[in-house]
């Protein structure tokens, strides 16, 4: 090690190679430890249970029956299809809300932009359970919507299918995590120069053409990020379908929950969780890659 000297006094020492290597790692100890304890270890336990690895689960050894059992059951296939329908329709509905909302926030809100953004975030922070129960009150047979429709005279009997149905789950999921849908789209809109709209208008484009050929290609990455953030939570949700789904709105997330909580089948539940996880990871990867592609007009 060379010592730097000025006027004879030692000012500093050149750090050793080892020190230089370890210094950045030192900063990472705490976050890494947290990650390991709270995330990796539980994941590991999940894996172990799904494969019924002997020493921890007290069973015979390594097996894939939990996975094959799940994948071969046709009932789960139907439930997966229902889940796909519900999640996809809900996601599309979210995009239909989110894009105009983000547009207003990004370009039209003026000095109300920040307060509106704050209001959006706050609204989503409300406990999801409270929101779902609120929907139950709106959609039920004696709920507000049926009451209103009866009073106006549009219907003679209350509509049962509003609650405890696929429809109810779709409605509830359409507004869950909406903030996470809006914000990436809003952020990508902010990056678009508003002058482009004037240019498009000057060249003869109406609002729909401007949206389709100018705005949409430029916010496509934002939309894919929104999908990445929100679709999986929608797909795997089990609180909403439990409370408002009834028998027809039964989703995969509930399958896992029921398997573990009602049947006590930790191994099976673990296996299903892992399958869902793999699916979610694949979807997220595809969505991520698509968000990086520059979309042509």
């Amino acid at each position: 090690m060379e010592a730097a000297t000025i006027a004879g006094a030692a000012v500093g020492r050149r750090p050793s190679r080892l020190t230089r290597l370890l210094r950045p790692l030192a900063f990472m100890t705490l976050p890494t430890a947290t990650l390991i304890v709270l995330f990796l270890i539980p994941m590991g336990i999940l894996f172990v249970y799904s494969f019924e690895y002997g020493p921890l689960t007290g069973s015979s050894g390594f097996t894939l029956t939990n996975f094959t059992g799940f994948l071969s059951e046709p009932l789960y296939g139907r439930i997966a299809w229902t889940t796909f329908q519900i999640a996809t329709i809900a996601m599309l509905a979210q995009l239909l809300f989110a894009v105009p909302l983000a547009y207003v926030l990004a370009y039209k809100a003026g000095r109300f932009e920040l307060p509106l953004l704050l209001a959006l975030v706050l609204a989503d922070e409300l406990n999801p359970m409270v929101k779902i129960y609120a929907w139950r009150m709106l959609l039920g047979r004696d709920g507000l919507i049926n009451e209103a429709l009866l009073r106006i005279g549009l219907i003679d009997h209350p509509i049962d299918a509003l609650l405890f149905s696929k429809f109810a789950v779709i409605v509830v999921l359409s507004t869950s995590y909406l903030t996470y849908t809006v914000i990436p789209i809003y952020a990508s809109m902010k990056a678009v120069d508003a002058g482009l709209f004037e240019a498009a208008l000057d060249l003869g484009a109406g609002w729909f053409t401007t949206f389709r050929r100018v705005l949409l290609p430029l916010i496509a990455p934002g939309i894919f990020i929104a999908l990445l953030l929100v679709y999986v939570p929608l797909f795997t949700d089990f609180a909403s379908p439990t409370l408002v789904g009834g028998t027809s709105g039964y989703m995969l997330g509930q399958v896992v929950a029921d398997e573990v909580l009602q049947n006590g089948n930790l191994n099976g539940g673990a296996a299903m969780s892992i399958l869902l996880l793999v699916g979610a990871a694949l979807f997220s990867y595809v969505a991520y890659r698509l968000s990086r592609v520059k979309v042509e007009s």
Binding site: D193, G195, L196, E198, A199, A200, L201, D202, L203, G204, A205, G206, T209, R213, V214, P217, L218, K294, V295, E296, S297
Partner: protein, 379 residues
Amino acid sequence: MSERAMIELRGLSKRYGDALAADSVNLDIGVGEFFSLLGPSGCGKTTTLRMIAGFEEPTSGSVTLDGEDVTWVSPRRRKVNMVFQDYALFPHMTVAENVAFGLKLSKVPKAELRERVARIIASVRLEGYEGRRPAQLSGGQRQRVALARALVNEPAALLLDEPLGALDLKLRKEMQLELKAIQQRTGTTFVYVTHDQEEALTMSDRIAVMNGGRVEQVDDARTVYDRPATEFVADFIGTSNLLSLRVDRREGGTVAMDLGGGMSMVAPDPGEVERTTISITVRPEKVRVGVEPGPGWSCLRGRIAQNVFLGSVTQLIVELQTGEMLTVHELNDDEGATRLAPGAVVSVGWALAHSYPIGQGAPGGAVGPSRAGQAEVIA
């Protein structure tokens, strides 16, 4: 310039709260004219341009385009196109796609579209760049794409909002000449907004000088320069000299201030008999150093206060015997001017025809004929 006006603005005003961005603007812009709106920031030139384009709705007044009242027509449907200050190119489209955008919307047949796009791209000298994205282009190239994108639609008028502002000086000067050439070649009416008076003088057929929302003067470049209508115009365009002339004598269409020793200041008579003092303006390059007093000439004594080398000219600041300061530009074709050191006493003079009374309204109205024969007019 044609008889019929392509663009007519009548009493056009735009109010934002208490502020009047444009105040009763009246303009006639002729077919095929290169017309500039010139003025400092906030003078209303951009607001006026945007009202012609349709991006701003006027508070009052009207916009007529090719005989048709378009005051409330959306920018989509007006037969004008705009070149924006920051170009506003579509970043996700290639040069060719950008340029073709407007044509595609007009449902122009494919073959014709391809041909027109190719032609305009060649016309702005961007052949070979059709497949590039705006991010891969330099500032000057982007500017030309913006121009092509607007021109390809063959609009009745092209509106340009300070398009050369972001370019460096050399490129800007090149583009000025190129824009002028394109304008003359296509015969399109250009309405050009700028705060750079040199730019306006270089390119325009006529200039509207604006200040505080009002149009102060509309004339061709030479008239705006030589015969400014108001103090603001005299001051904004080029370097000006504003001098006070006390009316001692009034004869034969001229007024004169006598200063003793044969020295005097003369100017064309503005015709307002009640005024005992008038303001006149004279351009620095019209002043000569070392002249003798004579008829048809202003001649005063002064002391050199400053001598500044500007390259092609030498700028002299002269403190006149009247106490006022006069800026003189002497061409550096000989060493004459450089020998005039601060403190030196000189006589300066200029021809009657080169001074102009200020604030007298329409050009040609107040300028009388110069005294024939004896006045040596320096062109």
